[in-house]
Structure formats: C-alpha cells, structure tokens
Assembly symmetry: C2
DNA sequence: GCCATCATGTAATTAGTTACATGATTAG
DNA sequence: CTAATCATGTAACTAATTACATGATGGC
C-alpha cells in the first residue's frame, strides 16, 4: 500500500494538515499517486495509532498538523531501501494512447490534437509548480516531479507530433 | 472505469481468451494498466451481457475466444473520442523516486542503483516485446508501448544517472 | 505418468471513489 | 454579510487484490 508511505513521506518533508496533504497529492505527486481527503483522514488516524505520525500543532478551524515520528522516519527508510518496489502502473492516458491507433485517421488526428493540448497544459502546470512548491528542508534541489516531469513531457510531445504527421499524411488529399 | 475499455480495446486488436487477455495486460499494456484474471473474467461476462463482446470460438480446455461486436467497436470509438480522459496516474515507482531524496546519500545511492537496474531490465523487456508482440491488424506500426516506452525509459535513465553523480560527489571522501 | 502451462471461475478482503455532512475563518 | 476557502469527518458503493478452487491438454 503506497498511500501509507506517500503520506508518511510528504509529512517527512514537512509537517502539515490532512487538508494540505490532499493538495500535495495534486502538486508534488500529481503524476505518481492520488488520494482524496476521504482516504487521507482515516489513513492519518491509522498512522497515529501505529505511532508513525503525531499531532504537533492544533490551530484554527480545529486543524491538526501532523509530523512523522522517529518510528515513522525509520519505517519510511525501511520501505524505501528494503522492500521490493511494485512496478505496476495505472494510467488511463496510457491506455488511450495505446488504443487510439484503432481509430480511423480523422478521429485519431482529433484525439492526437487533444492529447497535445493536454501535454502543453501539463508542462505549463509543472512550470507553475516549480514556483509554488515549498522549499524543501533537504540539501539537493530535489524535484523529480518538475525536472523529470518536464523531460518526460517533452519526449511524449515529440512522439505525439510524429504520430500527428503520420495521421496527416495518411488522410492528406492527393494520395 | 478503464478496465472495461482496455479489455474492449485489446479484443478489438484481435479476438482472444480471458487467459490471453491477462497476458496482454502484462505485455502491451504493462506501463498503462494492470488486471488479474479474477477481474477479467467477471468483466468479460458483463461485456457479454451488454452485447459489447461475443464468444466467437470454443476450443480445448473449455476455452472461450471473445471478439468485439459492432456495438463494442462503436462504444470504444465513443469512449476514445468523446469522453474526457481521467488524467490521474498511479505509480509506486514515482512515489519512491520522489521520496528517495529524504534518504542519506549512502542509502540514496543504493536505491538509485537499484532503480537503474530496473530501468535496464525494463528496456530489455520492451525490446523483447518488440518481437513477441503479435502483428496488429492495423496499417501503422503502432507500438506506443515499445517506441514511446523506450524513449521515456531513456530520459529516466539520464535523470537517474545525474542523481547518481550528485549522490556520489556528496559522499565522496575528501570534502 | 507427471509436470508445466492453459484455462476459468468464485469468495473474502482491502483500496479507492463518490456522496453526504458540517462547521470555522477570512477576504472583500 | 456572504462567498470562497480551509478543515475534518463518515457512509455507501465500486474497483482491485489475494486467496481459494478446479480441471484439461500437451510435451517429455
């Protein structure tokens, strides 16, 4: 279960509330994992029971700020270094890209253009995160989300452009 | 629900049994979606009830080969062209890559090397699929799984290599 | 004859989404 | 004063995994 370690890891970067965690899943972890608040709050309760996180601050609007405990930090280290990663992935976009070749050239072209627009928007979003993202308490400028994300975005863009060329030449008049 | 359309799409490429579908999820759709046979068989039954797939052949070992019906093909086209893609992704590997910067340089270095080995194995696997994969009944050499997969693999490899350099220089003796 | 693989199913459990529900604070 | 956002929770449902279960066929 990655949810547990994603929550633990986000809190290890800096303490935050369940509400903030929910936003981080859409920012830092946007292309890696997703969780709604309805899953986050119960998970925080379980992590607290296990002694892996603790409430370090209670603020306005009955907000509770959580931090990772020493046991939590050790569990995170253990998970990262000693457990075998699960390599399965889930991406509806990936399924669509695989299947779009079943479409006739006109439909495929339309889909390719929509996907291109998505990649442009994604790249813009990543560059925006670059500024919004909280300065991390670690030495290295570690931002796989942004740095690697933009590079992957670029190769996908190139690939889509090639497919668009193919689709256009196939449906071009005069052949 | 992408499972439904992934099954529909795989069958639209060519008719096959539930057992073969399960293998295709690990080959063609390896980095896009995953499904076990315990999920595939009930889904095939539902798709049959809906008239989107049909049994076209019954063979040895009480095997049933399914094909997409005309209604199934239309549903697939509708889904690909007219529905809004869900852009959330799930990748434990992505979570790990994001969190590995929390580790001290020695641990991080070990993780980076394991991930590098994974990428090498993945690239090898993709090249193997290239030959194993069934010739598709479509005109274009459409293999996002292999073509795009190898390119993404390459940029990830570069990125990992850079992180390894950083981790090494940080823990290098003499500074 | 026996082992690997093909082949299909169901049951129990866990994970995740959607919907329901409530209330506090702050900026305009 | 009121709308947006912060903030937390539960309930009902759907999706997915793991475990249980069985049997046929083909190659050696």
């Amino acid at each position: 279960m990655s949810l547990r370690h994603a929550v633990l890891g986000l809190l290890a970067r800096r303490p935050m509330t369940g509400y903030e965690l929910a936003r981080q899943f859409d920012l830092s972890l946007a292309n890696a994992w997703h969780a709604r608040h309805s899953q986050i709050y119960p998970e925080l309760a379980k992590l607290e029971d296990l002694g892996l996180v603790e409430v370090v601050e209670q603020g306005a609007r009955r907000s509770r700020t959580f931090d990772v405990t020493e046991a939590g930090r050790e569990e995170l280290r253990r998970w990262l270094t000693e457990t075998e990663p699960v390599r399965t992935q889930r991406s509806e976009t990936g399924v669509r890209w695989f299947l779009m070749f079943l479409l006739d050239p006109a439909d495929r072209r339309a889909v390719l253009e929509r996907e291109m627009a998505f990649l442009d928007a994604q790249a813009e979003g990543l560059r925006a995160i670059d500024e919004r993202i909280d300065a991390a308490p670690q030495p290295q400028p570690f931002r796989p989300t942004v740095d690697l994300g933009l590079r992957v975005n670029a190769v996908m863009r190139d690939w889509l452009a090639e497919q668009l060329d193919d689709a256009s030449s196939t449906e071009a008049p005069g052949r």
